[in-house]
Subunit: 384 residues, 2 copies
């Protein structure tokens, strides 16, 4: 496969890097050559050897050898032109462009179908978290009833900061901005528009429908106050910006709004810039996908899996190597409860009744067992 990457910003350059670094492994996986032929960008960049640099996307689209065009410039004007033209030439297209799919998805999908080209966009929702593809392929047995998610990392970061550092919205926003978490057009994140783009994409596939983006009512987090957060916590809840889509009696209910979630709920414990998508369906009940929602390599990882998917051979040949060197994982932090105090490095220690309780530092199990000879004890690993 010969790939043209159009847009060499954070994610685009990450894609080129991964395809270069993992070339050999990816070629083994899919059983054919994987070559980046073009990198296209208006800003001049230094590309790995062998990749042609161009400022003109027509060079990529008009090259018959290129069969996968990766659009990572963003926006809804030139990006759309590139995608439509590439599809019309029968080239497969991969993108992370959620705004474009939310607004012009139907036209793009129909162009792809008409020209028998593939159009994949896993990276448009949840960064690198596999969710667009699994929701369609792996849940195929199910009728999807509801999708709920924290789909915007920036607002989740701000909400987490408000709680942990006891800040009001404006204060947390200033800090998040200073840390580079807020985009030039802050409204996309703060007013729930980015989350709305993403829930539209998930809803289209889940319910097999097209609909206009402006039907989604999006409310952002500007109205969330520290005071309400505190009251919510007192009641056992945390406030999150939730994007939701579900079947309702007379159609489909889809919106984005700040929502109280019980602290006992997994979704309430998704903090910082993490994303989560929970899907409820008729057979599988509820299933949840969680991970980092943004970042150069995180998002590039999803783009690369889409690129491979355009040429999906059977990846399940299992031509693995037989190995002998399998061991228990004995180096760990340990929890120890014993009768006497120990001569070890530890993270935490306390004693209660006749028990001595340790959380050790990282230690080899044998070194620890040596200390415990002749003692009565109980011992478990500690994660981390």
């Amino acid at each position: 496969m010969k790939i043209g990457v159009v847009g060499l910003g954070t994610v685009g350059f990450g894609v080129v890097e991964i395809l270069t670094q993992q070339k050999e492994r990816l070629e083994k996986q899919i059983g054919e050559e994987v070559t980046v032929k073009y990198g296209c960008s208006l800003d001049e960049v230094t590309l790995p050897e062998g990749i042609i640099y161009t400022q003109d996307f027509n060079d990529v689209i008009n090259d018959d050898e290129v069969d996968v065009v990766v659009e990572l410039i963003g926006g809804t004007t030139i990006a759309k032109k590139i995608i439509i033209e590439a599809l019309k030439k029968g080239k497969n297209v991969v993108t992370a462009n959620k705004a474009l799919i939310a607004h012009d998805g139907q036209e793009i999908f129909e162009t792809a179908a008409k020209h028998h080209a593939k159009f994949y966009y896993e990276a448009s929702v949840g960064g690198g978290i596999p969710v667009v593809v699994p929701a369609k392929e792996d849940l195929i047995a199910n009728e999807i009833e509801k999708i709920e998610g924290i789909l915007n990392g920036t607002t989740n970061f701000i909400l987490t900061l408000m709680e942990t550092d006891n800040l009001d919205f404006d204060e947390a926003l200033t800090i998040a901005d200073g840390l580079g978490y807020v985009e030039a057009d802050a409204s996309l994140d703060l007013d729930g528009i980015d989350a709305a783009h993403k829930i539209q994409i998930l809803a289209m596939n889940a319910f097999e429908i097209f609909f206009d983006f402006d039907k989604i009512k999006a409310t952002g987090i500007r109205s969330v106050t520290k005071k309400d957060m505190d009251y919510a916590k007192k009641l056992g809840y945390r406030i999150k910006l939730i994007a939701q889509a579900k079947k309702i009696e007379n159609g489909y209910g889809i919106d984005v709004s700040p929502t109280l979630i019980s602290l006992k709920d997994m979704v309430a414990n998704v903090n910082q810039a993490y994303n989560v998508v929970e899907i409820t369906c008729n057979y599988l009940e509820n299933v949840l996908f969680y991970g980092k929602g943004a970042g150069r390599y995180v998002t590039a990882s999803a783009v690369v899996s889409d690129i491979m998917k355009t040429h999906q051979q059977d990846m399940w040949k299992h031509d693995y190597q037989y190995v002998e060197n399998i061991y228990p994982i004995t180096k760990s932090k340990y929890y120890v409860r014993c009768d006497h105090s120990l001569d070890i490095d530890y993270e935490t220690y306390f004693s209660q009744d006749h028990d001595h309780i340790y959380i050790t530092n990282q230690i080899e199990l044998n070194d620890l067992l040596e200390q415990l000879q002749g003692e009565t004890y109980n011992l478990f690993k500690v994660r981390g």
Copy 2:
């Protein structure tokens, strides 16, 4: 596609039901006919009309029309014979049989490769949670470094019960047994053997290796006491049965052992019979898959997605219908903070300083807003 389902117990019959109920939708998705031709089982069962019942699996394997054989009888003797013979005839095979793959995976995979047949087993790990396929296909860009998971629902149910009901292991086991959570051979669950089967399957694919099952050291939960659970909690941890596999300096570290997990960690909050798999890799960092690990339709859901996968056409045609009836989700529980008390049905109410705070019962937003006319208030949805 013509399917033969061998084994009509809990999961097998669930597969037949799903394929019957969802026939039309599945056929649209993959663009071809989906027919269950045989149901095979020693115990006589009543099958939906049109499906041939047989007690002899040879009827299924020897029918040239059948191109997907679904093995759901379990065990490692007859099940293996059926799978190997079906693969040798070039039929695709789908199974949920983790013990068999853990013990004889290499032989089965090699037979499948030799005869150009597909062999899928998503349901063998994590019940219906998509994790075997996503870990391989959707994370293809990544080198997987570590896999950790709660892979056995029975032991997680017992550990949760010990904590919530303040029971010791034996007491919780008795209750779990009474509720039907414990299998005839309790040791498979309690001694971590089932979890070891599953981590072997995940490790094989993640690291592209084969290895002998008996290399995995499995420790179950019999040594977990209520006392240690209480001490762990005091330190901010919860005890879970964790299956782990990672690259280590001189090979691969793989084991199953009770492990303390920080309560701040998502994995510590996986309770009851839920399963979770967390995968750490070089680009995507950490990604987590969570859901029900067992149950008739839960597991059958994964089996059906594998069956569809054997005939994977492009499911991404996006031939969706355009719809107008998209609405915000206005019927919800609400959090309201306002100046005066309200005349509404509520779940929780308290007042503090000059604030009145409600968690309402389910209510239409307009009905609530009517009550709030002229008031100063803040309002958010409440999940659930």
